[in-house]
Every structure is written in C-alpha cells, then in structure tokens.
Amino acid sequence: RTLPDFTTLDADNNYGWRNFARFLDAGKGTEVNGMSELKKYLNRFGYLPIPPQNNFSDFFDDQFLSALILYQNRLGLSVTGKLDSETIASIISPRCGMSDLIKINNNTTTTTTTIHSTRR
C-alpha cells in the first residue's frame, strides 16, 4: 500500500500524525500500542466521545469502530470500518483544527448539527 510520501519526513519534523500510518489494516478486536492517540484524534474532531473512565485504551473496540465509520462517512471515504490506506491517508493529512461533527462531552468543541446536501 502506498501512503502519502510526506510521512517520510526528516527526523527533526515532529509531525505526530504520521505515526498513525502504522495502524494500517489494524482490525476490530486488536490491541495496538498507541491507538489511544488515534482515539484522541477522533475525539478532537468530533467523532468519539471521551469514555466514562476519562481515558482511551489501545483496543480497537466497538466505540472506535463506530467512530471510524462515522469519520469515513462524513469525509466521503469508502465506509469499510477498517483502517485502510484511504482512511489512514485522510487521517494523517494536514487539516483545519475545527471539529467536523457532533457535540462531544468535553464542551470545548464547536458543534455542527445541520448538514445540507444538494441533489443534481
């Protein structure tokens, strides 16, 4: 699988999101070291609420799967529920810091509730 070449940055660039590339093809039920960081990413952009115990595990669980499907759906990606190369490429792409979706319970994110689509 090919991912965008800017993941091969030189050492002094601290581009944290490029580490998400190592989750490529991780599937539901697996536990991958560092996946909690990816969960924080999905929380930041409105896809995954903070769990009751207030911290994220490294486990690819049902909540993470739902958030992943929501992310794929919202950003026009193939809805596979998998960390496929298209989804990973989107996740590690630089982006705007505003949230994409629903109100989440840390009360610091802008909410988006009305989505309109146009049929031609």
């Binding site: 965008p4 070449d5 800017f6 940055l9 660039n13 601290n14 581009y15 944290g16 999101w17 952009f45 919202r74 950003l75 026009g76 989107s90 792409s93 630089p94 982006r95 705007c96 810091g97 505003m98 994409d100 109100k103 610091t108 802008t110 909410t111 988006t112 509730t113 009305t114 989505i115 309109h116 689509s117 146009t118």
Partner: protein, 190 residues
C-alpha cells in the same frame, strides 16, 4: 455544506473590517505578500455574497483578526507544530482566525520548495468560510472540506461552498450562477 449550531452569521454590517496581527506573524514572507493573499481570499467570498471586506490597520478593533500563532496560544486549541492542524477559526460574530506559525507557509510553490509547504491562500480562504458561518463540508472538492495536502492548492470556491454561504447571506447581485458553473466545469476538466 454545513452550518454551526443555530446558523450564526454576521448581522452587524454589510461591510466587515479585517486586520493582520502586528505582533503574531511570520518573518519569511513579507507583509505585503501575506496581505495580497488575504485580500484575494476575502474577495472570493465577497464575489458571491452581498458582504464587503475592508482591510484595517487597527487589529484590536477589527471585526476579523488574523494572526500566526505557535503552540498553546490561549484559546484552548493549541497548535501542534509542522502539519497536523494547520489553522482554525471561530464562528460568527467572534472573528478570530488563527494560523499555525510552525507551518511552512507558501504564497508561491515555484519559490517555496519545502515538501511540507502549505498554501496560505487555500487555508485562509477555508478559515474565512468558518468566520462567516460555514462548518466543514463532506464534499471533497469544496474549499470547506477539512483537509489539505502539503503543496496542495484549493482556492476556488465550489458550488457547494457558494450554495452554503448564500443560504446565510443571500446572493451578490453581480454573481452569475451560469458563468460560475461554467468556470467550475473548466476547473474540473483542468
């Protein structure tokens, strides 16, 4: 297209002022290069809605305040260094538009060769959409789609952006949908 909760928009005036922060800026682009890009970005939105934007030198009292900030800059949404989050802005009538000073911003990819260079005009045009009341779009071609690849450029508003912003502000009387759609078609074929 999508809106923020309650569809907030600017109602105070049909002309909004904007200014660049004199203190929070970057050194490797000249102020005039930055101002030219920002002026062009605002003009793309004012071409489709009956709203004008006037540049001001008085940052504090401007409606829209633009600056380059690094790391934790006091609004609860810290920037994260190279790539990652590039910028953010706030919904109406807040007016703040923040760009991550850690990025390698470019106004001309012929001159700027960095692999992680980010097009300033594309990001400013996107963030102005937020300042005016648009949230992120699901349409990949739209300016309001949340991500932008390094050395990528996305400055032309698409019909999704135009339809959304015109729901909030109405249509600029000089805007011609037919010619807009023709220009969009030529962008697509390009």
């Amino acid at each position: 297209y999508a809106f923020f909760n309650g569809q907030p928009r600017w109602i105070r005036s049909s002309t909004l002022t904007y200014a660049l922060s004199p203190d929070y800026t970057i050194e490797y682009l000249t102020p005039s290069e930055i101002r030219k890009v920002i002026r062009r970005s605002f003009s793309r939105w004012s071409a489709v809605i009956p709203l004008n934007f006037t540049e001001s030198s008085d940052y504090e009292s401007s409606d829209i305040r633009i600056g380059f900030f690094r790391g934790d800059h006091g609004d609860g949404e810290a920037f994260d260094g190279v790539l990652g989050v590039l910028a953010h802005a706030f919904s109406p009538e807040n007016g703040r538009l923040h760009l991550d000073a850690a990025e390698r911003w470019a106004v001309d990819f012929e001159k700027e060769k960095s692999k992680v260079a980010v097009d300033l005009e594309s990001v400013v045009t996107h963030e102005i959409g937020h300042v005016l009341g648009l949230a992120h779009s699901t349409v990949k071609e739209s300016v309001m789609y949340p991500s932008l690849s390094p050395r990528g450029k996305k400055v032309d508003l698409r019909i999704d952006d135009v339809e959304g912003i015109q729901v909030l502000y109405g249509t600029n009387p000089n805007f011609k949908l037919k010619s807009f759609l023709e220009s969009e078609k030529s962008i697509d074929s390009g």
